[in-house]
């Protein structure tokens, strides 16, 4: 067993060094939501470390102390059914740990599913992020511009992403700003993010969506509000308008570079509004109310 433990610790040591070169993305947050999650992860690692250390220590203790080679030939192990006190401990301590982690989970889940802390009184920047094989389309309805495969965002402002898909289920994920959420074809899901620090971040589709999945990445750049406004002005002045034909062309499966348009596709191709069961006649009036944030609108639309 010693050999195994030495080797294991060696491996873990090497990994720690390798991983220590620079902090991993998820634990290097650049926004309030990612920071909340990063803290949750650290809390869970610390708590779980107690469990791991306890189990490892007990294991080493029993296999060192009670191995046959260390005992008398005629030692007969006793018959022990169990012990109520010991069993209460091995049930009780895990229950306490799970209760603690449940509280952490519920609080943080509500936190990251709402407008980021400290930004509640601001009007968020709304961006419709839609995926098609294997691209991301970002529509800024208020700014009336649209980009493909890159996302400019202002720092220190709440961001509200409305996600949907023109293809298979995808998952919108910017690890350094927060967790991911699915984009699906028949409804809108909402993701709340914000960036504290200006910089360039990696964004990607995290959910397997076929042949072009690996390259289904987008570039995120967070910049101060005035720079962002300047960029919006510039796009509106210089970029080509997005036409219906052009957008249909963009939806064709394949990869595209970064593109910029004035106007958005929302005008001629509205996003899905809620659960579209398609059977307009029979489901009229059926409302889905399980969503706490009204992310999923209940109206049915003619979207196909």
């Amino acid at each position: 067993m010693k050999r195994k433990l030495t080797l294991l610790s060696l491996v873990i040591g090497i990994l720690a060094v390798l991983a220590g070169c620079e902090p991993v993305m998820v634990l290097d947050p650049k926004g309030p939501q990612a920071e909340t999650i990063s803290n949750v992860i650290w809390i869970s690692i610390a708590t779980m470390a107690i469990v791991v250390i306890a189990v490892f220590a007990l294991l080493v203790y029993v296999i060192v102390k009670y191995r046959a080679s260390k005992q008398d030939e005629d030692y007969e192990p006793p018959h022990i059914e169990g012990n109520p006190i010991v069993e209460s401990i091995i049930v009780g301590i895990p229950i306490i740990i799970i209760i603690f982690l449940s509280i952490v989970t519920v609080r943080s889940t509500y936190e990251v599913e709402a407008t980021p802390k400290g930004y509640e009184d601001q009007k968020p920047l709304v961006v419709y992020a839609s995926s098609s094989d294997w691209k991301w389309h970002f529509s800024y309805p208020e700014e009336n511009i649209e980009t493909v495969n890159y996302l400019y965002i202002p720092t220190d402002r709440a961001l509200e992403f409305r996600l949907y898909s023109y293809g298979p289920i995808t998952s919108f994920w910017i690890p350094q700003l927060g967790g991911q959420k699915y984009a699906m074809s028949d409804m809108i899901t909402t993701l709340h993010l914000a960036a504290d620090v200006p910089g360039e971040y990696m964004g990607r589709n995290a959910n397997f969506s076929g042949k072009g999945f690996a390259e289904n990445i987008f570039h995120v750049e967070a910049m101060p509000a005035d720079e962002f406004d300047k960029w919006v002005e510039e796009v509106r002045a210089t970029a080509e308008p997005l036409t219906e034909d052009k957008f249909a062309e963009l939806l064709e499966p394949g990869h595209l570079g970064q593109m910029t348009f004035s106007g958005t596709h929302l005008e001629f191709l509205p996003p899905p509004e809620g659960h579209n069961h398609g059977t307009k006649h029979s489901h009229e009036g059926e409302h889905d109310t399980d969503d706490a944030h009204g992310d999923v609108d209940t109206d049915h639309s003619a979207h196909k």
């Binding site: 998820v26 007990l58 397997f208 042949k211």
Partner: protein
């Protein structure tokens, strides 16, 4: 020619052509070999028509090991492809097919038959029964599984493999995005194998409830039998969901319905929900028998009774109950909102409590024991720390908010391999080594076995530990390649090195089987490990009727108490034994199922209709057939038992 175009592979490569040739040559070699050595009738008489649970168990093992190597080669290809950035070894399509096949083969066609192999061989012996409750259905289960597996395995040379992941989420797996017949293979082959599993579930629940030896109350059953009972109860509840889900998927792909499609009222999140309503209990179907095997082995080699038997039973029952209440944690990110996610987080984390109880009970079983580090015990002891890491990362993944960052990443991949490999693969290797002497009458070599264990244990950690880090660094799973700038290169290379270590370990196991077959002693008695449960009270090799006299059980460890305290086990005199007849119908019916599945995959309706009729004809034949079995006369039993009686007396 157009007709035959559908059978062509959509994305051929030299490797696939080479496999075609290899498959062809192997089949020809087997056929010639069987003919040359005149083994056709032996094969038919002793194996293809057998209804003996022990032989069926052994056939399950052979199939599972074959599939382990198929899935292992897929795994090596994946790790080789991702070992360096921007690698061109496999293209995206090929990689997608490889990881899909890897997942399906390992879970459905390797892990499932492996647990059924051991349950088949061991459970009737452990409860002192002559066979399972429905021997012929048992044969049908095996052959349906086997034909499902074969059907799935020909996909890569005929028509193309499935490419939408083992979870096969629609609409990606629908006709719009997955045009080859690959997903049809997925739907039909799992359907056929799944029917077999469902039948097994019913069979084993009945066997364990109705066929226990006199005196063996439920709370006196060995732990492996307990886990088998609960596992099969889960099978009975979960597999119908899979059957219906696959059927709905088949309707979408073959008959143009819109259940999971993006248009005309389909719901793309429905598949994910239905899949995981089966899929999560499935995880416990795999892990619970493993827990049972570890309980037997740890108790045997610590030379102690299992600590906390009652709490062990309670914990598996609680786990089985919770296994149906956690499926949403596979897609917290679908936007259900924080309330739903919070509830499922709590149920998910709650499973850690009964699982933790089991870990501590095993540790407490070893305490005050006299631990011998045989190969099965090494796997069991190695399982505890590795599975603990898998378990605690599972709790971390169960926390919804944090899962938004782990979901779909290599962190998740690392986690589930940290549970499935020590939880299932280690257990199966441990169980196989442990029961091997009972199955084949000789022991596997301990020295080679230990080498294999160390290669597997260390190779495993080197392969999968780095994935926790790449996952946290944003590497999504199922990416066929990544850029150099991402910085994932070195850790992925390390994973590849570990995978090679794992491969060497498995190769050593094969070598061990070869070596031990040639060199091991055949004179090992009936109880070489000095074990505690009833299967060791039979002769080695086990006679077709298992026990000449039915054992009478008065304690949890009846065989141990018989050996140590002289508590009587076999009472009364030998009587004639009723046995079931062999039957070729299960095999023939499963062959028809194979053609049936193949016809549906390629939408060939005439053979599909003919085979459907033929399947019903087989069932009709069975219902009108009169088969009362046969009796083994007392004289014959006495003749075969002569030696063992002597042995039993010596033992006392």
């Amino acid at each position: 020619m157009d007709y035959f175009d559908r059978f062509a592979i959509p994305h051929p490569s030299p490797a696939i052509y080479a496999s075609m040739v290899a498959i062809g040559l192997t089949v020809i070699a087997i056929l010639i070999g069987l003919t040359y050595f005149k083994k056709w009738s032996y094969l038919w008489r002793e194996w293809l028509t057998t209804v003996d649970h022990k032989r069926i168990g052994i056939m399950y093992i052979i199939a599972a090991l074959l599939m382990l190597f198929r899935g292992g080669v897929d795994a090596l290809m994946m790790r080789a492809q991702t070992a360096v950035p921007d690698n061109k070894l496999l293209d995206a399509q090929h990689y997608n097919e490889v990881f899909t096949t890897h997942g399906v083969v390992m879970i459905i066609f390797m892990a499932m038959p492996f647990i059924y192999a051991l349950m088949n061989f061991v459970v009737p012996l452990q409860i002192g029964a002559r066979d399972v409750a429905f021997p012929r259905l048992n044969a049908l289960s095996f052959w349906l599984f086997f034909m499902g597996a074969m059907l799935f395995n020909i996909s890569f040379v005929i028509g193309g493999s499935p490419d939408a992941g083992w979870t096969s989420y629609f609409p990606l797996a629908g006709n719009d995005f997955s045009q080859s017949v690959g997903t049809n293979y997925y739907l039909m082959s799992i359907q056929i194998a799944g029917i077999g599993t469902l039948i097994s579930g019913i069979n084993f629940v009945t066997t364990i409830f109705k066929m226990r030896a006199p005196g063996m109350k439920l709370m006196k059953m060995p732990m492996f039998t307990w886990t088998a009972l609960i596992t099969n109860a889960i099978v009975v509840f979960a597999f119908p969901v899979l059957t219906v889900t696959l059927l709905l998927g088949t309707m979408d792909r073959l008959f143009g319905t819109h259940i999971f499609s993006m248009t005309n009222g389909g719901m793309d999140m429905l598949w994910a929900n239905l899949f995981w309503v089966w899929g999560h209990p499935e995880v416990y179907i795999l892990i619970l028998p493993a827990f049972g095997i570890y309980s037997e082995i740890i108790s045997t080699f610590s030379r102690r009774n299992l600590y906390g038997y009652t709490s062990m039973v309670a914990s598996i029952v609680i786990i089985s109950f919770f296994s149906f209440l956690v499926w949403t944690h596979h897609f917290y990110t679908m936007g259900q909102g924080p309330l739903t996610n919070s509830i499922f987080s709590i149920t998910t984390m709650a499973i850690a409590i009964p699982t933790g109880i089991k870990i501590f009970n095993w540790l407490l079983t070893m305490r005050k024991g006299k631990i011998e580090f045989t190969v099965p015990m090494l796997y069991s002891v190695g399982f505890i720390p590795i599975f603990t890491i898998g378990g605690v990362t599972g709790v971390m993944l169960g926390m919804a908010s944090a899962d938004y960052q782990y979901h779909n990443t290599m962190f998740l991949v690392a986690h589930f391999h940290y549970t499935i490999i020590p939880g299932v693969v280690f257990a199966m290797l441990a169980g196989l080594t442990y029961w091997w002497p009972k199955m084949f009458g000789f022991m596997l070599n301990e020295r080679i076995g230990k080498w294999a264990f160390w290669f597997i244990a260390i190779g495993f950690n080197v392969t999968f530990f780095p994935m926790f880090f790449t996952g946290l660094d944003g590497q999504a799973r199922r990416m066929y390649t990544y850029s150099e700038a991402s910085g994932y290169g070195p850790l992925n290379m390390l994973s590849f090195v570990g995978a090679v270590g794992l491969a060497i370990g498995f190769a050593l196991i094969v070598y061990n089987v070869y070596y031990s077959t040639r060199h091991s002693s055949r004179n090992i008695g009936s109880d070489p490990w000095d074990a505690r449960t009833l299967e060791w009270a039979t002769q080695t090799p086990v006679q077709s009727y298992n026990f000449a006299r039915t054992p009478h059980v008065d304690s949890i460890e009846a065989f141990w108490d018989y050996k140590k305290k002289g508590q009587p086990l076999f009472k009364g005199s030998i009587e004639k034994i009723h046995m079931p007849n062999n039957s070729g119908v299960p095999f023939i019916m499963s062959c028809i199922f194979f053609v049936w599945g193949f016809s549906f995959i390629f939408s060939m309706w005439i053979p599909a209709i003919i085979t459907t009729i033929a399947i019903f004809a087989c069932m009709a034949h069975r219902s009108f057939e009169k088969d009362d079995g046969y009796y083994i006369p007392v004289e014959e039993i006495e003749a075969t038992e002569k030696d063992s009686e002597v042995l039993a007396d010596e033992n006392r």
